[in-house]
């Protein structure tokens, strides 16, 4: 945890910057610890202890701007470092739009760091023995696991348990002072199986929670095994247009390009397929995404962004209409737009047509199609929205999975894809900061 002495040193660093000739500055002091236990085939394979701290400083001097960081957190070396940083900024071209955010927009109610209630005191009582036990208990290798398909063998299991504490303290020369503190307990596992013909299949699963009491890694290994076994005998289908249901654990892959395209940096550079779309109906009226950054006790919740600006609970896309670009202080000046915030913190895609819908419900709704359970590579052209992704999953008929699918590609354009949204579920995983449930689309181009 950041100490009073370290906070005082951060304040002194602001003074160092002003004394060196900066007109303004912002300090971000971070400190974190993490303990990690990796297992291989049911045995401890690697134990890692991490302890980090870093001081970053954004400097505004002579109309110019630069950002700098150091992990040598000692008064004398920081003073020298900041003097050099200010001298460097003075060599850069002036930029009239670089400035600190308006203090009125800044967060004033994140003082202790614990406001979001995602710090668990139980972290302080974790021991090497408890961590090893958590990692080993979660492993399935060598245990009598019913999930393994007949004739298949578990070749390898790599698990990783970790717990961590993260603390960030942000101050600036306009009086900003805010802090955010959180803990996290994480477990992820990847298994490789071999079928009777010698073909290998691998898959993964993971979970995380800010609180130890809500952390339950017990089913991760079994889930990963089931996912790997479900791929046995997979092959490409005939190319064509199919309905597509995307599992909630990978659905954010299709939402992230939308959020990236709403970022003011992309808009200003003309490198976004959502240029000039603010306030316009661009997608299906079935699509609504809002930001929910203030849910206490939930992963990813945060009161302020990297500028110290207060986050906001607000619609991003409402019934297919673009309601918000992500505009930080700098881009606000560049674009002549009101600032909003630099990014979505906890985007929530609202269920349609009704709450309580999951992946199975969407397959029933679609009848026939392909269930995508994993993506393999691919990309999106941000200027046009054209995309192509490798996929793996299951063919479904009459709402039931019937055959594993692999080595197929989906190809299309995001504007079209989201116009073809059939329905969306609310079966998102609470351990993820992106609250995206399963999704169903019509008329998706599959190549195999």
């Amino acid at each position: 945890m950041i100490t009073q002495e370290e906070k005082q040193l951060a304040r002194e660093c602001l003074d160092f910057a002003l004394q060196a000739g900066a007109s303004d500055a912002r300090i971000t002091l971070t400190k974190s610890t993490e303990d990690l236990i990796a297992t291989l085939d049911g045995q401890v394979d690697r134990v890692t202890r991490c302890a980090d701290r870093s001081l970053s400083i954004a400097i505004f001097a002579g109309g110019s701007f630069g950002s700098f960081s150091s992990n040598k957190i000692e008064r004398d070396s920081l003073r020298t470092f900041i003097n050099e940083a200010v001298a460097t900024v003075r060599m850069l071209a002036p930029d009239p739009y670089r400035r600190l955010p308006d203090p009125e927009r800044c967060c004033k109610d994140a003082q202790s760091g614990f406001e979001m209630q995602i710090y668990d005191e139980a972290y302080q009582h974790m021991t090497a023995g408890v961590r090893s036990k958590s990692a080993l208990d979660a492993a399935v290798f060598g245990k009598n696991v019913q999930a393994l398909a007949e004739g298949a063998a578990l070749i390898s299991e790599e698990g990783e348990y970790s717990d961590s504490e993260y603390d960030v303290y942000v101050i600036d020369t306009h009086g900003l002072e805010c802090r955010h503190t959180e803990t996290s307990f994480d477990y992820g596992v990847e298994v490789t199986i071999q079928d009777a013909e010698g073909n290998k299949y691998s898959d993964y699963w993971w979970t995380a929670s800010p609180r130890l009491a809500d952390f339950d890694p017990a089913q991760c290994g079994v889930t990963a095994l089931k996912r790997a076994c479900a791929q046995i005998g997979s092959e490409p289908l005939k190319s064509g247009r199919y309905n597509m249901v995307v599992s909630s654990n990978v659905a954010s892959r299709l939402v992230s390009p939308l959020l990236n395209a709403l970022n003011a940096y992309s808009i200003q550079q003309g490198n976004s397929f959502l240029v000039d779309s603010l306030g316009k109906q661009v997608f299906s009226d079935r699509l609504s995404i809002l930001d929910e950054p203030w849910r206490k006790g939930e992963s990813g919740s945060k009161l302020f962004d990297s500028e110290g600006v207060r986050t906001s609970a607000a619609p991003i896309i409402e019934n297919g209409v673009i309601k918000r670009y992500f505009v930080n202080t700098y881009m606000s000046g560049k674009l002549g737009m009101d600032p909003t915030g630099e990014d979505a913190v906890r985007p929530l895609l609202k269920a349609f047509p009704k709450a309580g819908t999951d992946e199975s419900g969407l397959m029933e709704l679609c009848g026939d199609g392909i269930l995508v359970t994993d993506f393999n590579g691919g990309n999106c052209n941000m200027a046009t929205g054209d995309f192509s992704y490798g996929i793996a999953g299951q063919l479904f008929r009459d709402g039931k999975t019937v055959k594993p699918v692999s080595e197929m590609l989906i190809t299309g354009n995001f504007l079209t894809l989201w116009k073809n949204l059939i329905a969306s579920g609310d079966d998102f995983r609470s351990c993820s900061p992106k609250l995206i449930g399963s999704l169903a689309f019509s008329e998706v181009e599959f190549s195999g």
Binding site: G66, S70, A85, Q231, E445
Partner: protein, 463 residues
């Protein structure tokens, strides 16, 4: 040793503390200063530098690893980290490793030290890249150019009493150019990266970047998606080497094989592709982004043939896997920084030139297929070997000739099968000098290369 404030006696004491928990202990000291300058909206109006300093301590007990690091290199902090690293075993253990490291000759250096750079001159060079692009192409609407450079000072010490030093420069220029034509936009990303000083910032490099940024732009505006399906694919020399890296190279990394995860784990000594194909991973290419005087375990950089005349001959080893297989380490133990333990990683991975003629010969041999001129990112599933690559730019091949330009499609296949399906290798190897970064658990600088090749059957995404 002055940089890190430790003596050899202290190093021995710290390692001896680590050996209380295993049969091997090594220390990795690092100071890296990373600098950048960003050109956006025709001005270099932001930049900065970032200092990262510390020491990682690793204890090995058999194949088990204990790891801890300290951002302070005072003796007490390092002793604490050594004690934390012993946690994997809690008692003395064993570890087999290869021989002591001979002195290596670095395949890089700096004629013009980055430290002596006038940042205004660097900014001026960056601005000249934009000017060169605009001079060549009036449809240029935006140029974003990032210049970054770092010098890492590394000191490694281990329980064989080997003390090794390395200074690694890395300079990079990345340019994103956006072009507009009648309401359509095209984006191009071009880059160059070398282990050298600022002598890399030449007029020749500026013109090369500009020429590459605008090459074939008319075709890109006209490009469409082809009809998808299985077809022969001709891959251009150079950046197509990402196929080797992703679809084959990772499966050659010894950790995946030691754990039985790789599709190649039972193929050592067996034929995996046609005669005449040689694939290697090389740390000795002068000034190359993937080159290393020593790897991050103090093993000298070297050339490692994984495939010779079509036969799998070696995996890529760190000290752990080399000990497990009973072979010398190959210098592939790499890490992102002192915060990470080393694992088997590639360096510059490429296929040697073949004897099947020229690129034109390969294209002429295809009735209906795709010629891929420019790949972007790729991804692979190690167990299955399934890979996907995104095609920025390519062309249809019809009756042995290049016809319609295509873009924004994926190619999907299976690594071992694609390797076995290579029907022809041209005589035009190019090692690509782009800013390739491999992201296997940790980020490390790599490069890749390949001659033009013909693969008889891959799945191409399309309408």
């Amino acid at each position: 040793m002055d940089l890190f404030g430790v003596t050899r006696t202290e190093l021995r004491t710290i390692v001896n503390e680590g050996l209380k928990g295993g049969g091997w202990c090594d220390l990795y000291f690092e100071q890296t200063v990373y600098n950048d300058l960003l050109l956006r909206d025709s001005q270099v109006a932001s930049g900065g530098f970032h200092l990262d300093y510390g020491c990682g301590i690793r204890v090995l007990n058999g194949e088990k690893t204990g790891y801890a690091y300290s951002e302070s290199t005072d003796f007490a902090s390092l002793m604490d980290a050594a004690r934390a690293a012993t946690a994997v075993a809690g008692k003395p253990g064993s570890f087999k490793t290869g021989s002591a490291a001979p002195k290596a000759v670095p395949p890089y250096g700096m004629e013009l030290d980055w430290d002596g750079a006038d940042k205004k001159e660097l900014a001026s060079w960056l601005a000249s890249v934009e000017a060169a692009i605009r001079a060549r192409e009036p449809r240029t609407s935006k140029v974003i150019a990032l210049m970054s450079w770092s010098v890492s000072h590394i000191m490694m010490y281990n329980s064989l009493d080997e003390l090794t030093f390395d200074s690694r420069p890395l300079g990079s220029v990345t340019v994103t150019a956006i072009f507009s034509q009648a309401g359509s936009t095209e984006q191009r990303n071009v880059s160059r990266s070398f282990r050298c000083g600022r002598e890399m910032l030449s007029d020749e490099l500026k013109e090369t970047l500009a020429a590459e940024a605008v090459a074939g732009l008319d075709d890109s505006f006209a490009a469409r998606r082809p009809k998808g399906g299985k077809m022969p694919v001709v891959m251009a020399a150079g950046a197509s080497g990402i196929l080797l890296h992703e679809a084959m190279g990772h499966a050659f990394e010894a950790d995946f094989n030691r754990k039985g995860q790789s599709i190649f784990s039972d193929r050592m000594g067996k034929r995996i592709c046609k005669r005449g194909i040689n694939i290697l991973d090389d740390a000795t290419v002068p000034g190359n982004r993937g080159s290393l005087a020593y790897d991050d375990e103090g093993v000298p950089g070297q050339k490692t043939y994984m495939v010779q005349d079509g036969v799998l001959t070696s995996y890529l080893h760190d000290r752990i896997s080399a000990g497990w297989y009973g072979v010398p380490p190959t210098g592939n133990g790499r890490r992102e920084s002192f915060r990470y333990n080393p694992i088997p990683r590639m360096r510059a991975t490429y296929m040697e030139s073949g004897t099947d003629g020229t690129l034109q010969d390969l294209i002429a041999s295809v009735q209906k297929g795709i010629y891929v001129d420019k790949f972007a990112n790729g991804e692979v599933k190690i167990g299955e070997g399934d890979f996907t690559f995104y095609v920025n730019r390519g062309y249809l091949i019809e009756n042995g000739r290049i016809t319609m330009p295509v873009k924004d499609i994926n190619i999907i296949g299976n690594g071992p099968k694609a390797l076995a399906d290579i029907e022809a290798v041209a005589d035009d190897l190019i090692i690509d000098n782009g800013t390739w970064t491999c992201g296997k658990e940790q980020s490390v600088a790599v490069s890749c290369g390949i001659p033009s090749v013909l693969i008889k059957n891959l799945t191409v995404g399309g309408e």
